[in-house]
Amino acid sequence: MSDGQLTPPVSGLDHAAGPDNAPVTLVEYGDYECPYCGMAHLIVKEAQRELGSELRLVFRNFPLAESHPHARGAAQAAEAAAAQGRFWEMHDMLFEHQDALEAEDLLAYAKSLGLDAQQFARDLADATHTKRVRDDFRSGVRSGVNGTPTFFMNGERYDGSWANQVAFINRLREAARQAAETSA
């Protein structure tokens, strides 16, 4: 077993929000059509607000496409937005509209975010970012992702509950404190 270690570790290829030297890095493997990921999204947002620059958030795609027919298309949309430097805006948009992830919805989101809609549509039509999504998925499997969402805190799989927002955020603070002590 991987013992729940993130493989590969976070790198410059990842979508990251927050400082590189933040004491705690939270990696989420998620699926834009997964209702639990939708709930977790709000909790992660709250964690970002509360921890501020103490937290770096990384998102990797883990579309469970057999269960969620729109999950792969949505992941591609987030990657197509990333190619235009707007990953997180699209990421939020998708989680806020989990029930509307058809191709025309995705295009409408791209337009509302002011993306180059033609380029975006081409990326989706050509499935340009298939490999990226697939690579994320594979890395999740290797890291011991066992469903969505799965979180890693500073590289270790978090097996506790994320649904308890207070406990989840406290655990992040604790990880930040531990990291700060280790580096001190």
Partner: protein, 183 residues
């Protein structure tokens, strides 16, 4: 998997090196599968407690997504629980599953017992994984705490090491044959 999960792992399931007990179970109301029919390729046996429980749903859904990677190793995957054939059929349809679910229904849990993966009292099987080589020998097994979805990384590592050592394995069996032939 955390260290403590590992420690809590019950040791009673069949371990590496043991020939996998053969069995014949229904895969659909009118089809049966015999394990030994699958000789010649690796087989993943996934014992799980029950259809429909949210955690197994997750586990089964995950393996369903990873099928292409299991197939890269030429491996077959079989899910096994004590649920009946019609229950499996409904579950497989609901989750859009593309691998067989075997019904260890009558006598209840008989196959799970053979593998040391039956939970007496509760009447369900453990959440136990076995990876068999092409000769039907168990090469890796893992029993997860009942509430913890074990993921797929352990299975993939086992398949990877199986693929890596297929040549030496042949050499070993050749040596064993040679030893038997000695007077």
């Amino acid at each position: 998997m955390t260290e403590s999960d590992f420690v809590r792992t019950p040791a009673k399931i069949l371990g590496a090196g043991t020939p996998a007990p053969d069995f014949t179970l229904n895969t659909t109301p009118d089809q049966v599968l015999r394990l030994s029919e699958l000789r010649g390729r690796p087989v993943i046996l996934v014992f799980y407690p029950a259809d429909w429980s949210p955690v197994c749903g997750d586990q089964v859904a995950l393996y369903n997504e990873i099928l292409p990677e299991f197939r890269e190793y030429g491996a077959e995957i079989l899910g096994i629980s004590v649920d009946g054939v019609w229950c499996h059929a409904a579950f497989a349809q609901n989750r859009n599953l593309h691998f067989p679910l075997l019904s260890d229904f009558e006598p209840k849990g008989a196959v799970a017992r053979l593998y040391g993966a039956y939970r007496e009292g509760e009447g369900i099987s453990e959440r136990a994984l076995f990876v068999l080589d092409a000769d039907g020998i168990i090469r890796w097994s893992f029993c997860s705490p009942i509430g913890v979805n074990p993921g797929a990384d352990g299975i993939l590592k086992a398949l990877e090491s199986l693929a890596g050592r297929s040549a030496p394995a042949k050499a070993e069996s050749f040596r064993a044959d040679a030893a038997e032939m000695r007077p």
